[in-house]
């Protein structure tokens, strides 16, 4: 988890929205729990802070593409650059 604000509401919205585009079952595995990657309430329960390690698991016909798409969101830190000037935490 690279973003300094951690996995707060907006990135959780972005990644669950992306996850729902795919047929595969997508799960996020945090330090103490495994949750449904298509549910924002589930993903928020991970409370993943910066530096936390998350494993993303996809199972299904489009698993590879789904992982690639979700991985891209993490790679660009959910496009949060400069957003702190605007305000938010999440």
């Amino acid at each position: 988890m690279g973003s300094s604000n951690g996995l707060h509401a907006r990135p959780a919205d972005l990644i669950t929205r992306e996850a729902r585009r795919w047929e595969s079952r997508i799960e996020f595995i945090g330090e103490s729990r495994r949750v449904d990657g298509k549910s924002i309430l589930d993903v928020l329960t991970l409370a993943a802070e910066q530096g936390t390690r998350l494993v993303i698991e996809a199972t299904g016909p489009d698993a590879d593409k789904a992982l690639e798409a979700i991985g891209r969101l993490f790679d660009c830190n959910f496009n949060e650059l400069g957003e702190d000037n605007l305000n938010p935490i999440g």
Partner: protein
């Protein structure tokens, strides 16, 4: 983090008067001013900051729940409150449904971890349909306070 760690019980509202997104946010922020958690001179700035966050994407996260929030330098610890709208308010939610349950959070800019743990607690409890139903049925602020205390007791503390 437990509800009692951030919810100002004096600010809980069991029936908001406002019928719009900004109206509810203002009413809830005012309740934090009334209970002394926020200084009154900051009211407009905080409402504006929360609305700016909403512009980036609604915090109406589905199931009739919204978590409007902002960072603000005028608070030195995470403060929050809970409100219910029995009629429901159009919050441009992710699932398009009207919002009945509101958890408003204002956190110091340098404490993103506390904000995450508050969100974690709220989302974990709200996955329980029974909890949501009972919250929505609350008639007076004390009912909400009781439910939050019960959730704090039953839920594991993180």
């Amino acid at each position: 983090m437990k509800f009692s760690d951030f919810v100002s019980v004096e600010s809980i509202r069991s029936s908001v008067h406002a019928t719009t997104k900004e109206g509810v946010i203002r009413e809830m922020t005012q309740s934090l001013v009334d209970s002394g958690k926020i200084i009154s001179g900051e009211l407009d700035g905080i409402v504006k900051a929360i609305m700016k966050r909403e512009d980036l994407g609604s915090t109406g996260i589905g199931r009739g729940v919204a978590v409007p929030h902002t960072k603000h330098p005028s608070v030195d610890r995470l403060v929050g409150t809970v409100a219910i709208s029995h009629d429901g308010v159009d919050f441009e939610s992710l699932d398009g449904e009207p919002v009945h349950l509101f958890f408003l959070l204002v956190s110091p800019p340098d404490r993103p971890g506390d904000h995450l743990r508050a969100l974690e607690n709220i989302s974990r409890q709200l996955r329980d349909d029974g909890f949501c139903k009972r919250l929505k049925a609350a008639k007076v602020p004390a009912d909400i306070q009781d439910l939050l205390e019960e959730a704090d007791k039953n839920g594991f503390v993180s």
